[in-house]
Symmetry: C2
Subunit: 161 residues, 2 copies
DNA sequence: TGCCCATTGTCAGAACTCTGATATTAATGT
DNA sequence: ACATTAATATCAGAGTTCTGACAATGGGCA
């Protein structure tokens, strides 16, 4: 039996690499980047979605869970899950909204603010890696493509006239 | 009518849209595209990862679960989960490999082949949408960026010298 | 006033993805 | 021959994401 040395198809053979399907490359890119982010965030214990939620909450403290879901293009259930985990970790706090009966006000705790400061440094370093090797114009092309590819997916839209 | 109200911050205000962080845009793009793919695949009952796994198995019928995980840049556990669901749905079959004791040979069932034919038509239509509005050169830029962003994430690599 | 409906939030269940741990088998080294 | 290492596959548990279903609140309209 020879040692067929790692001839996995795909190095230049098939749909991998720069010749692959865009959808396939998109999924792998997102998986790979998330993996790198969470490895880097390991010491903070945050996941990529948790980091994104904390960042949004810090920027827009008035927003409800439903608001955040709309901003992030996620379903209310998904955002609810992420916030529940942040609350269990004592990084956010929720208390009943005075005027609006069902709404709840969300706040970062001190621990939440502290961990967010550390996490931002780690993630922004990776963010600059993401642009490395691409000109300003190329980056604009990439951004434009990403926005088009996402395509405001869950836009319940139509609002039925 | 209009109902242009939707004043959530982020239309042109902040980190959303084409000015947002690349990592953030990447996650949203992948989420949105996956959502569109699975909506389109609804009638087949397949998910995007299941579709990818079936496609790979059809192209490389000799490969084991571990091989597929390497090709797709996923962990063996993840690929194992996907294959288990495909097996429960009777779209693939696994029987013990003759020569190699622990390896298992994976095969598409007739149902698996049939569903894959239908799914390919649905997904490839979306794939062309993904390139619409971008020149050949711009598409090359996007592909190159996606490959760099993914960065062969889990490459256990180094193999400890 | 009282009913309809949109908004907000949650529970349940499924699939994907990771880390960590474990068992089994093959290949290798002394 | 025996021990070590590598590869394959799986179990367990956590977090993210969806669909589907439901309760509670608030506003609008007959």
């Amino acid at each position: 039996m020879g040692k067929t040395t790692r001839l996995l198809p795909g190095e230049g053979t098939d749909k991998r690499g720069p010749d692959g399907y865009l959808g396939y490359l998109l999924r792998q890119a997102a998986n790979g980047y998330r993996h790198r982010v969470e490895t880097s965030l390991r010491e903070t214990g945050l996941t990529q979605p948790q980091f994104a939620a904390l960042t949004m909450l810090d920027a827009y403290p008035e927003h409800s869970s439903a608001d955040l879901a709309r901003i992030a293009l996620l379903t209310p259930q998904t955002m609810s899950t992420i916030l529940r985990n942040l609350e269990n970790a004592a990084l956010i706090r929720r208390h009943p909204h005075q005027e609006h009966g069902r709404k709840r006000r969300i706040e970062l705790t001190d621990a939440g603010r502290q961990v967010l400061v550390r996490a931002k440094r780690l993630v922004y370093a990776l963010e600059t890696d993401l642009a490395e090797g691409f000109s300003e114009e190329e980056q604009r092309t990439v951004r434009r493509w990403l926005v088009a590819a996402g395509g405001r997916s869950l836009e319940g839209g139509a609002t039925k006239p």
